[in-house]
């Protein structure tokens, strides 16, 4: 059994991947049972994998093994602190979970100082680009001026500490809003194309990885029968979906 599984792991993964891909894309036509089932499988696998990774990469090497195998008994206090999260299920003692949440909020707040210094200070320095210099071309100068104009006007738009009474501030903030819209457009375009890349990746998987395997499998009578049954199941499901849709949205007379 173990040998057979090891020999067929790649093929099984290909078929499971193709099945999962078809199941999820079936929702593009209509909500259906096949999609719902695989959606729940996805949630189960993600949650199970999350627990496995947490155990194998954090709790086992950093908590369980030092405590049990190296005799560092003090780590049991981490479990006591961790148990405080679960007091949220008690109506009477729910406030105890606030203590541990408070601890993490305090730690995050304290880390803000470091983040501000280590992440944003270098960015502020990098934003101060030279406009003229020996090694700076005219195109670099134009880019630097554009950069300053957009940075200052966009920041002016976010100044809420004072009223935008002055016409200069008003106009600058208005320009900042236009520039921000260009930025949001760029983010939107890049996001759409990122998702499209994933979609192309799935098609690539189906065409180049799964399809050659399916063509080999087509030689077997068993596989042909399975495909015919699957097509019939899809047609029946599609027919039922069409029927349900025509009941929900009856054709106008």
């Amino acid at each position: 059994m173990a040998e057979w599984l090891a020999a067929h792991t790649k093929t099984l993964s290909l078929w499971c991947g193709a099945l999962a891909t078809f199941a999820i894309y079936s929702v593009l036509y209509a909500e259906n049972r096949f999609y719902r089932l695989f959606e729940h499988i996805f949630i189960g696998l993600s949650a199970g994998f999350g627990v496995y990774v947490t155990w194998s990469q954090v709790l086992a090497p950093k908590w369980w093994q030092p405590m049990v195998h190296k005799g560092q008994w003090q780590w049991i206090f981490a479990a006591v602190l961790g148990s405080m999260f679960y007091f949220m299920y008690s109506k009477k003692h729910a406030w105890v979970s606030r203590v541990i949440f408070g601890l993490f909020m305090g730690l995050s707040a304290g880390l803000m100082f470091r983040d501000f210094y280590e992440i944003y200070f270098p960015q502020m320095g990098a934003s101060m680009k030279p406009i003229v210099g020996n090694s700076i071309s005219w195109w670099d100068s134009v880019n630097a001026i554009v950069f300053y104009a957009i940075l200052i006007s966009s920041m002016a738009y976010f100044f809420f500490s004072f009223e935008h009474d002055s016409p200069v501030v008003q106009k600058t903030a208005a320009a900042g809003r236009w520039f921000l819209m260009i930025g949001f457009g760029a983010i939107f375009g890049a996001t759409v194309m990122g998702r499209m890349t994933l979609f192309i990746g799935r098609l690539n998987f189906l065409v180049n990885d799964w399809w050659p395997t399916a063509r080999v499998a087509w030689q077997y009578r068993f596989f042909q029968t399975a495909v015919v049954l699957a097509v019939i199941a899809v047609l029946v499901q599609g027919f039922r979906a069409l029927k349900a849709r025509s009941k929900t949205f009856p054709p106008s007379a």
């Binding site: 991947g17 891909t21 695989f38 696998l45 949650a47 194998s56 730690l107 960015q123 930025g183 799935r202």
Partner: protein
């Protein structure tokens, strides 16, 4: 003081380990019991104190330079325990993972128990959850070589076959919804909307071969090459977009710092912070 700390820190084995572990558990439970019996008027003070002390650790660790500590050679003792604090917080945070899992179990457990509509989906949730968790743990801990090998194969099928495919397909599905939502929601009725639409269109065209094909008649080098779609797209991403993103990031940074200070000093108000404990 130091000798007491060293005595506590010594690893214990055998019966000593069991005694110390049980002792620590008893102390931990006693502290928890003490917390549960705290009168309501002190509860907010305790939460505020814990929040402040936790924030104070990282603030002092970062803000006080090693030279100011009265130690030789000059060093910051708070920095020395930072790896321990980081590990401890990572471990405690890991225990919180089961909160989400517990909620999922409650919802799907009820669905299976009631045999309501679509209960088999909830059953599939449990099967897939325990299948990948069991296969993962067996592959790592099974002493039988055959069982370990079979578990590894099952884990690979579940992870590479199902999980990565489902993950990529689910996220690629957003491409369809995002385009559909944009078609329904975007109307070029103002200059701002037009600028956003134009920027999005140029970026999308710049990232596909057909976009480059549109302006392929322009030269590859020289002044006119700057008008090629892929060049405009790249410039939009690296110059105006970068400046706008940085302005937003600076706003977020100042906001986070202010928010961090408010949380640290328990000045923040709202449903979570004002609730009676």
């Amino acid at each position: 003081m130091s000798s007491v700390w060293n005595w506590i820190a010594i690893p214990r084995h055998g019966w000593q380990f069991a005694v110390f572990l049980c002792g620590a558990l008893v102390i931990g439970c006693a502290v928890l019991m003490l917390l549960t019996s705290t009168p309501p008027r002190y509860r907010k003070t305790i939460v505020a104190a814990v929040t402040f002390l936790a924030g104070l650790y990282y603030a002092l660790e970062f803000l006080i330079p090693p030279a100011l500590w009265p130690l030789k050679p000059p060093r910051n003792p708070l920095s020395e325990v930072q790896p321990l604090v980081a590990t401890l917080t990572q471990i405690i945070w890991s225990f919180a993972l089961l909160l989400g899992v517990w909620n999922l179990f409650l919802i799907h457990g009820r669905a299976v128990a009631k045999h309501g509509r679509g209960w088999y989906n909830s059953a599939a949730f449990f099967i897939s959850f325990f299948a990948i968790l069991g296969a993962g743990l067996l592959k790592d801990y099974a002493k039988n070589a055959g069982l370990s090998k079979a578990s590894e194969s099952i884990f690979t099928v579940l992870f590479s076959g199902f999980l990565t495919s489902l993950d990529a397909t689910m996220f690629s599905l957003i491409a369809f919804y995002i385009v559909s939502a944009a078609y329904r929601a975007f109307r070029v009725k103002s200059l701002e909307a037009a600028l956003m639409m134009a920027a999005a269109a140029i970026i999308m065209l710049a990232l596909v071969p057909v976009g480059a094909e549109i302006t392929n008649w322009l030269p590859q080098a020289g002044l006119l090459s700057a008008l090629r779609v892929e060049r405009i797209g790249y410039w939009l991403l690296t110059s105006p977009n970068m400046a706008a993103q940085r302005a937003i990031a600076f706003g977020i940074a100042v906001g986070s710092l202010a928010m961090g200070l408010r949380i640290w000093l328990s000045l923040e108000r709202g449903n979570f912070f004002d609730r009676q404990l």
